[in-house]
Amino acid sequence: MSNAESEKEYWRWTESRYTNPDLSWEDGDIISAGVDVGSVSTQAVIMVDGELYCYSSMRTGSNSPDSANNAMDWALEGTSLPLDKIQYVVGTGYGRVNVPFAKRAITEIACHARGANFIYGPEIRTVLDMGGQDCKAIRCDQRGKVTAFLMNDKCAAGTGRGMEVFADLLQVHINDVGKMSLEVDEEPEPVSSTCVVFAKSEAVGLLRKGWPKEKVLAAYCSAMAHRVVTLLLRLGIEEKFAITGGIAKNVGVVKRIEDELKLKAPEPSIDPQLAGAIGAALFAKALVEKERKKA
């Protein structure tokens, strides 16, 4: 590629960090942390007595330990909280066994259910976690404990990576894909190919036919929505239903999932990409309490 425009990386979503101004770690009893090293993104969440204190969310690098270290360093940046004051760290996600400072690794399925329970409330019974390289449908109880799940981690269709490929192809920033896909007067037929490689060729054909970008994105978002709805229906949906993971921020996919299910997913009060790390930090808190009971 020759010009600067085509070298722009449209998939590169915005990394972020946050500190809760209303909390101070010095006043807290239990300081716990969760680190979710996903295939595409890594989040570090630090909680003070089960309340969100600070976090970071960044792109996963080429190795898991470095990604975990970087995310933790960035989360702690500017907080005066030293790493050794965190009493318990739980690792989760694809790289969970490679979090250097974690005492324990817990699967992302358990953590996402627990995190969704925290973000959306105890009425949540079905969680759809749309991650970077996988997609999970999870059923849970009022405490966020997993009762059943189904997962696709073999195929990029229905994952964040698939959406990144489309952002690059259409040269639309990943943060804008969802909104742009809703700017159509009429919903087009969904992209018919399941495979992302073939869907890409199909999209190129649609562009050649003169379809505007919005319409192509609409066709892809609805294909993706349909794909994950199939997974949800196989598991069986019990209300209330919520979406976590990076795609939960894509209104184009979320709206189409809601339309197909005829169910509304609640608006997240906290970045839904943090659900796994939040769940891990809550498990870490529970483990500190358990250790104390033993002692």
């Binding site: 990029a156 990576r161 060729s201």
Partner: protein, 261 residues
């Protein structure tokens, strides 16, 4: 009497010209956007090579994914039938045909008369087709033509975890970052696609002899991986015609029949 077979593949359009059971010429062009235009070009190029005029061609039969677009053809036949006919002419001992094209993989079982008994098809996923090797060659920045040769130089078998082409791209990039030798990565790529196709063939059932056709059969690294998986050598067209022309050959043979030749 002269006939033509046109195979409109998802990537390339191939033409075979025949006269009384003999192959006169072959030609291939990129399918591109306008498939009929590409078929026209491929046909003209084959005519030119053979030194014959368009009106000498008595019957044209089209096959392949884009066959409906070829309005100037007399009729169409499925890839399954075309594969069976073309392969049976080249290797009459064939009972199982594996056809790996750019975007799909086919297994066709035939009897001792070349009649189709059963078939299986993968057209849903790029990971078992030529598109997989193509994507990996881009990630590796290695010319696709040299992939086969390079992989045979590998001395180390490494696993490939990703099934999906999109995920495999990232895996290849991280293998490059880990300073894994290119030839070992390419071998892993060929092993991965060979494993997927081997299980597709096993599902239908393997009956010898087994022939391998389609563009991917030109990749000696893939052929080697398939031979190792199956424990015997596949029949791969070489001298009379290249493996990507076998479907077009089958179509040209059927065109001969249809026009009374």
């Amino acid at each position: 009497m002269i006939t033509a077979g046109i195979d409109c593949g998802s990537k390339n359009t191939k033409v075979v010209l025949m006269k009384e059971g003999n192959i006169l010429s072959t030609a291939s062009v990129l399918s591109g956007f306008d498939q009929e235009e590409s078929a026209e070009q491929a046909l003209n190029s084959a005519l030119e090579k053979a030194g014959i005029k368009r009106d000498e061609v008595k019957h044209i039969t089209a096959t392949g994914a884009g066959m409906e677009a070829i309005k100037f053809s007399n009729d169409t036949i499925t890839t399954i039938t075309a594969d069976a006919r073309g392969t049976y002419l080249l290797f009459p001992s064939t009972r199982t045909i594996i056809d790996i094209g750019a975007e799909e993989g086919l297994v066709v079982k035939i009897d001792d008369q070349g009649k189709v008994k059963d078939f299986g098809i993968n057209e849903k996923c790029a990971a078992g087709a030529g598109a997989f090797i193509e994507a990996m060659s881009r990630a590796l920045e290695v010319d696709i033509e040299t992939m086969g040769e390079l992989s045979l130089k590998s001395t180390k078998k490494i696993p490939m975890n990703a099934q999906c082409t999109i995920f495999a791209e990232s895996e290849v990039v991280s293998l490059i970052h880990q300073k894994t030798l290119k030839e070992d990565i390419i071998r892993a790529v060929h092993d991965a696609i060979a494993d997927r196709n081997t299980s597709m063939v096993r599902q239908i059932g393997i009956e010898k002899d087994v022939a391998l056709i389609g563009g991917v059969a030109n990749n000696i690294g893939f052929v080697d991986a398939m031979n190792k998986n199956l424990g015997f050598d596949l029949l791969v067209p070489k001298d009379r015609i290249a493996p990507e022309y076998v479907s077009a050959l089958g179509a040209a043979l059927i065109a001969q029949e249809k026009s009374g030749g």
